[in-house]
Symmetry: C2
Subunit: 234 residues, 2 copies
């Protein structure tokens, strides 16, 4: 662990050490004030993975169609069990305010309060049975997660942020959009450019500026038997 | 679509057009022959997402511990529903051959034939209930998928490849490793450096060199109602 800490990027670079101390830092890029909260990692990982996080403060800047196409294309190339590609997305943007409001109405009230800011809303949907055999696909939700993993990387690369929500009504999505029985709405998704925290209703601001936390990898990497920490990560 | 095609990187770069024509290309890097099969995308995406694929031909080169630590660290920073982080991993490497053989024995026979090459084997595991409330976490598998999405990006960045498998016995994993009831083995995972196709048993070689295919994004991005293709992607 000591060795790993010495390898942390932020120990090597005084500029990043400064970022680490501030934890969340407004960065002025092209005149826009953006919130960044890079992950404080114990071991080195790709910058694009460190930069990804799930803000609630979204700018009213529209997301270019070309960028949305790249998000879906990225999702498209995720791996999946038997290459089933069990993911779909329902999308609404503020270019059609009524459509945006309709998707927003599927979110729980607390999420609506901030997600109304996001210029793009989506719902991810899983196909629960294999196309060819009709048998249950136990990896349907997992593989939607893989597709989202790709989308998150592409979004981060394009300067976008994504906030996924469990707090929405799958039943309402099914009803409003006519989602067939063999499909299941998985998560609601807000996409947009980041904004300064003060665009948020006051009750969300403290959380937006808070620390990002994760369990250490020694708590979830085992060998030999369940709960036996792998020496790789101890 | 026509516009999108014009934006394809491979139309702009004669070198990539050459790659596109070859589809799968042995690339000599530092004297090693590696198989690369970059995704043939309709819209531009990050190179690291294009390069990721799931080979069966793994080199016998060991994976450095530092790289494995970075894989788990990357998984650690994935987002998850209520920040539950419902992922765990059981790991075995060829540094302990008996442990590697034990994990290999959980795979279906056909997967054992090629996965025996991979110097690192894992099983991803999902915690099915929320830690705090004990209530079912409907996103447990999804969020394991998100963690894997991060791991795949980190692996690709480090020159590693990952092949996930549905073909294994969750029951055998549960029995051998003593996985508690509230956890569920999700997928088996092979990790390593790529090798030339001829390391594979003959019956796997054709598939290894085959085309990578995906449904077009117009088949899974909807707006307004289910099945109505979004003009963003039509």
């Amino acid at each position: 662990m000591a060795r790993a800490r010495n390898r942390r990027h932020d120990r090597l670079d005084p500029c990043l050490t400064f970022l680490a101390l501030r934890v969340s830092v407004p960065i002025v890029v092209l005149g826009l004030t953006q919130m960044e909260k890079p992950a404080q990692t114990d071991y080195p990982i790709e910058e694009i993975l460190k930069r990804r996080w799930s803000p609630r403060a979204f700018s009213d800047r529209m997301v270019e169609s070309e960028k949305l196409q790249s998000l879906f294309e990225a999702a498209r190339w995720a791996p999946s069990s038997f290459n089933e590609q069990p993911w779909s997305f329902i999308v609404a943007t503020k270019q059609k305010l009524e459509a945006h409001a309709r998707l927003l109405s599927c979110l729980v009230e607390k999420n609506q309060q901030w997600a109304s800011l996001a210029p793009v809303l989506m719902v991810s949907v899983a196909k629960l049975q294999f196309e060819k055999t009709g048998k249950p696909n136990r990896h349907a939700f997992h593989d939607v997660g893989l597709a989202m993993g790709n989308m998150l990387v592409e979004a981060t690369a394009l300067g976008l942020f994504v906030h996924q929500m469990a707090g929405f009504s799958p039943e309402k999505v099914r009803e409003i959009y006519g989602v067939p029985e063999e499909f299941e709405p998985v998560a609601a998704i807000a996409v947009g450019y980041p904004a300064d925290v003060d665009v948020l209703p006051e009750n969300f601001r403290e959380q937006e500026l808070g620390l990002r936390s994760r369990k250490p990898i020694s708590s979830f990497v085992f060998q030999g038997k369940w709960g036996e920490i792998s020496p790789l990560v101890s």
